[in-house]
Symmetry: C2
Subunit: 207 residues, 2 copies
DNA sequence: GTCTATACGTAGATAGAC
DNA sequence: GTCTATCTACGTATAGAC
C-alpha cells in the first residue's frame, strides 16, 4: 500500500494552462504573470526562471499561479506561443498580398526585424527553450505555418528548392537580427538593409 | 513576508578549474569528465546537466570531479574554451596565409561548417551557455581573436565597415549551419555552398 | 478563488574516511 | 588523491485555511 505512493513517475509535463482565461480578470492575471516571466527571463535567463519568483514579481501567490500554469514549462510554452502567433499574423498578411518577390521579401524582413529586435534577449531565451521543450501541438503548428507561408511566396515566384531555401532565409535573418540585438544595435532600418543584402545575395546566385 | 533569509548570496561562480592537469593521468580524467559532460549536454541540455550525473557517467566520484571543476559552470566554461580554441586555431592558420578574398572566405566557411556541423546540438547548447555565463577572460579573449582574424582579412581586401561586416558574416554562417544541423543535414559540401552564396551575396552588394 | 504554509525531491558542495 | 556519506539550499507542487 505504502509503496503505491511513489509509483513510476510518468514524466508528463503539462504545457497547457489549466484554465483558459475567458473572464477579463483572469485574462489580466494571466497577462501579468506572463509579463513577469518575460522580464525574469530577460534578466536571469532560463535557469533563473522559477515559479516562486514569477509569482512574487507578478504580485500573485504561488498557489494562484499554479491555477493558471501547471509549472515553469507551461509559462515558457505560453510565451513561445504568443511570440510565434504575433509574428505569424504579420507574415501571413504579407504573404497573401502578392507582388514582386523583392518587395515581399523586403516587407517580410522588416516585420522580422521589428519583431525580433524589440526584445532580443527574450527572443533568444525563448528560442532556446523551444528546443528543449517537447514543443506542444500549437507551437509546432505555428512554426509550420510560418515556414509554409514563406515557402509559398518562394514557389509563387518559381524559386528552386523552396523548402531548403525558406529554411536558409529564416536562418540568415534570425542569425543576423539575433547577433545585432545582442550587440546592442537598435537601428532597425540599417539592420534591415544588411539582412536584405544577405537574403537577396543568396537568392540571386541561385537563380 | 518573513525576514530575509536568503538575501546575502554572494553569487560567486568560479570558472577556473582548481587544478591544471599537468600530469597525464589527471589530463585523462579531465578529458573523460568533459566528454561525459558533453554527452549529457547533447542528450538533456543545460538544465539536465548536473555534477552528480557527470561524475556518474565519467566513472569518477563526485568528490573527484569537484577537485578538477568547482561546479557545473566550470564544466561549461571548459567546454566553451575547448570549442573556441579548436576553431580559432584553424581560422588563424587560414587568415594568415593570404590569397584572394573569395578563396580565403571559402576555406573559412569550410572550417566553420566542419567545426559546427560535427556536433551541432552540443555547439548550440554551448552557445547559449556562453550568453548566460559571465564569460571568463580566456573565452572572451578567444572570441575577440576570432573576430579580429576575420576583420583583418576583410580589411586586407579593403572591405568597408570591416567590424560590422565581420559580425554579420559570422552571424550568417552560424545561423545557417545551426539550422542545418538541427534539421539533420550532414552534407557539408552542399551546406558550404549555400553559406557561400549568402556570404558572397552580402559582400558583393556592399562593394 | 486566492492566500499561507509546508512537504517533497533534487542538486550543490563539503568533510572526513580510506 | 580518490571515494562515501551527508548537510544544506532551493525549487516544485499541493493541501488546507480564509
Amino acid at each position: 500500500m505504502a509503496a503505491d505512493k511513489a509509483s513510476a513517475t510518468p514524466e508528463k509535463p503539462r504545457l497547457q494552462a489549466r484554465k483558459q482565461p475567458l473572464q477579463s480578470r483572469s485574462a489580466a492575471t494571466v497577462g501579468v504573470i506572463l509579463e513577469a516571466a518575460a522580464r525574469i527571463l530577460e534578466e536571469r535567463g532560463l535557469t533563473g526562471l522559477n515559479t516562486n519568483l514569477v509569482a512574487q514579481r507578478a504580485g500573485v501567490s504561488i498557489g494562484s499561479l499554479y491555477q493558471y500554469f501547471p509549472g515553469k514549462e507551461a509559462l515558457l510554452a505560453a510565451l513561445i506561443r504568443d511570440a510565434r502567433a504575433g509574428l505569424l499574423e504579420a507574415v501571413q498578411q504579407i504573404c497573401t498580398q502578392g507582388g514582386l518577390l523583392s518587395t515581399q521579401l523586403r516587407v517580410l524582413i522588416r516585420a522580422a526585424v521589428h519583431h525580433q529586435l524589440h526584445r532580443p534577449q527574450l527572443m533568444r531565451h525563448l528560442e532556446y527553450a523551444e528546443l528543449m521543450l517537447p514543443l506542444d501541438q500549437e507551437s509546432a503548428a505555428l512554426n509550420d505555418a510560418l515556414l509554409n507561408a514563406l515557402q509559398g511566396v518562394l514557389m509563387a515566384h518559381a524559386v528552386q528548392e523552396a523548402e531548403v531555401t525558406a529554411r536558409d532565409l529564416i536562418a540568415i535573418s534570425r542569425g543576423m537580427i539575433d547577433s545585432a540585438g545582442l550587440a546592442g544595435e537598435s537601428d532597425a532600418a540599417t539592420l534591415e538593409n544588411r539582412v536584405w543584402r544577405a537574403v537577396s545575395g543568396y537568392l540571386s546566385c541561385a537563380v
